[in-house]
Symmetry: D2
């Protein structure tokens, strides 16, 4: 209804993220949004869809897991340097990712000093990840995705296992990331050999990216860290708003948020 | 009703802890238990009331804070070596003390990395503490009591500030504790100068006691640590059951409980 | 030597905090600073000594515990509304208070899920506290002080037990705090009945003050919370620098620090 | 030298785990043990090598990561139901895995509220994992292995991504695990759909195993949790000692260890 009044909307839920209402229904077990609105909606990963976001009436703000994952994989798929049939994603999230509602799952004594996987094999963020990666790969892709709950308040780290295509070398990876993200205000490319810590991004809108090339196995592992409450949620919404309104993209986002 | 069937009962709630139903009503804002039952009930602090517990039909298991506090203070009041008019108690509790029910108060993200006092100035454990200490002091005593919530799962530490009476020396304190608790299976008297860590009692039914005598100010500070889920709750109930049934008092209590 | 070159200095250590070199020697077991320099040094608790700091060549930045304690007690002693002979201070500190040096004491596995007191009865912050409080009380005062180590990274809470003098009422306390601190940029007076959480000050230069008046016992408990790494250390140093240089006092201090 | 005196030895270090001294030298950058001793040494994963351990003079106690990984993968490789060329292992360890030595890495303030990967791509536990898995697979295998440091004291979880061979069904996996481990005292096979929590094994010698079969991708994810200080270290050493001495295998291992 806000839309019908001609207002521009950034939606923080999942309703407008998936283009195909059938897919939505399959993964969320409820009817999805109106087809027309879905067509109009832009998936709001700022660095990937900046131009479309700028002119959009309806932006679907991404989930936190997809933000870490798509930012790491999109350039490599678009440049066709990794095998799109083998992407295995092991993600770890702090407890604030579960929201502020109360449940045994977020009870201090159940979560503290514990470590577990959950939501396998069909976590609801999968279709969103596959939809966007398929666009980049120019073919339908599938991923394996396992989220884990970690006893920290803020922070999310995705460890992504990929297989580089033949002839690709480590410097190609570095160059692609540099070309895509070298001037991005909220993506920090770590020096070779350095891996992200979630503490380095806590309270900020940054996504820190690192990678490890294993000569022995010929595999490439990507590491992507964000603060799930900022770049993974409200911070990216503000970034999108800035883009939509033609403001400086970093406006209001260079401070740090510290609660909780 | 279990009582009416002639069964012996250990009650884990507060209903039978306070002898005076008026006091109960004042602090709990509801009507208390039957006067006759209150008269029959024994306050189940094992080390203090062992003989009465042995023959009781109805044992009121103590609260966790009172367990740490009364064990530390009772011998010193009974021997009249500290000023009964000045006892200031600063207690710290792990989150499991708040129970397994869900609330924002026990939500991981509200509790983790936080430190706060709560429940001042009238926490419900005060009348229970004052009732038992008054009995030991042979006069009505009042205490200042401030509980704090600490981001650990298990563990409770009470720091108790007292003023020794004139002529009392540090060795008197050591001797009194030794005389009262030297052979207790679940009380460990720490060597002079050593202070308890809650980690040392985690998962056990022990209460660790230490103290610090300050020559400069002439004050005596007591330190009392338990695992609130064991000696502060179910462990003491088992200890009382063993006493009631004439079993070895340590039966079932020498292992460690580790969840959560 | 910086001083000798005519440079103004803010010293973060303890060397210039104590006016009396004999007291320094007693508590630190080493020779103190030069008497002349001690005379020149100003104790750098910004809100208490703002005017002297403004013109000082040498500011001794306070310890973290003393900051919480002196801010809470100074107005009440100066206005002579509490008994200066009975001040009992129970403080709790996060682990960053122990510095970044490595020791078993700061090892994750020793500290995590643990709770303990330490440094009794003669913690080195005591003479600094007593020196400043004596100035405010116009008489020599002594305090009882017990620090505790708590498994959080940042944050410090002092719970301070006092006895109001006869005739003093709760509203007097509120009015005094308002008069002293109502316009302070970095002191937040909590509404009656609300107690500070360290999480509310984490990453900031604020000191949050609350209190609880116990009608039953006639005692007054004060609560004072800071981030030990900011108002308890570097933040207050910046605040003092701003005062010394005639800059806006909040310059550089309204953001939040988030690491670690 | 203990060996030369005819004493039987359980070695907790890495020195005797690798059969090939060249491999040892490559991964540890120092000369390995004597070839003869290496030949005599038995890799002490109790459930896998029980018979050899029983008669061995020299048992090389496994590393903590390899324990979780080999226990999960060995039966599936031996039964040839998964592709031995694609095993991707994402492991998470509590801080006690880093030992009690002090370093910035284990400093509370660096580790608490943080999440990171480390030791890629060549963590020293890899050759040990590949050596044992190659024996089971009857061919040389390689794995991808990424360890992560998690802010808990005890606990280790390995999430292992595999590809089942054609024709294999979920019930085959359940049956194989049941056949291999159904009567093991220290392996608990979780019901289908349930995933291990490290808290469930904390302080115990158990290894909890679960798995998730993803119909969509045709992949199989294994989950293996232990307490790194017990089954991952001293507990398994005791288990091996019991086996060597012909004692009841669970002797001394059914209690729980709770410190730290």
């Amino acid at each position: 209804t806000a839309l019908k009044q001609g207002k521009r909307v950034i939606d923080l839920g999942a309703d407008f993220r998936l283009k195909d209402p059938e897919v939505y229904k399959e993964w969320y077990q409820i009817e999805g949004a109106d087809k027309e609105q879905l067509t109009a909606a832009v998936y709001g990963l700022s660095e990937i869809n900046r131009k479309k976001i700028a002119h959009s009436m309806l932006v679907a703000n991404p989930g936190c897991y997809p933000t870490t994952i798509i930012l790491a994989l999109a350039p490599l798929l678009e440049e066709k340097v990794i095998d799109p049939s083998l992407m295995i994603i092991d993600s770890k999230s702090g407890v604030s990712g579960a929201g502020r509602g109360t449940s045994l799952n977020t009870h201090y004594c159940e979560t503290n000093e514990n470590l577990k996987a959950y939501g396998v094999p069909k976590h609801r963020h999968i279709p969103e990840i596959e939809q966007e990666l398929s666009l980049k790969a120019d073919q339908k892709v599938q991923v394996s995705f396992t989220p884990h709950l970690i006893p920290i308040t803020r922070g999310m780290l995705s460890t992504i296992y990929t297989v580089p295509l033949e002839g690709i070398e480590p410097k190609d990876i570095a160059e692609i990331y540099q070309a895509y993200y070298g001037t991005e205000p909220f993506i920090r490319l770590l020096p070779a050999g350095e891996l992200p810590h979630t503490k380095w991004v806590a309270g900020t809108n940054y996504c820190d990216l690192g990678y490890s090339w294993d000569e022995r196995t010929g595999r490439l592992t990507l590491f992507s860290a964000i603060d799930n409450l900022v770049k993974g949620a409200a911070g990216q919404a503000v970034q999108n708003m800035n883009i939509m309104l033609g403001l400086e993209e970093t406006l209001g986002l260079l401070g740090t948020a510290i609660y909780p």
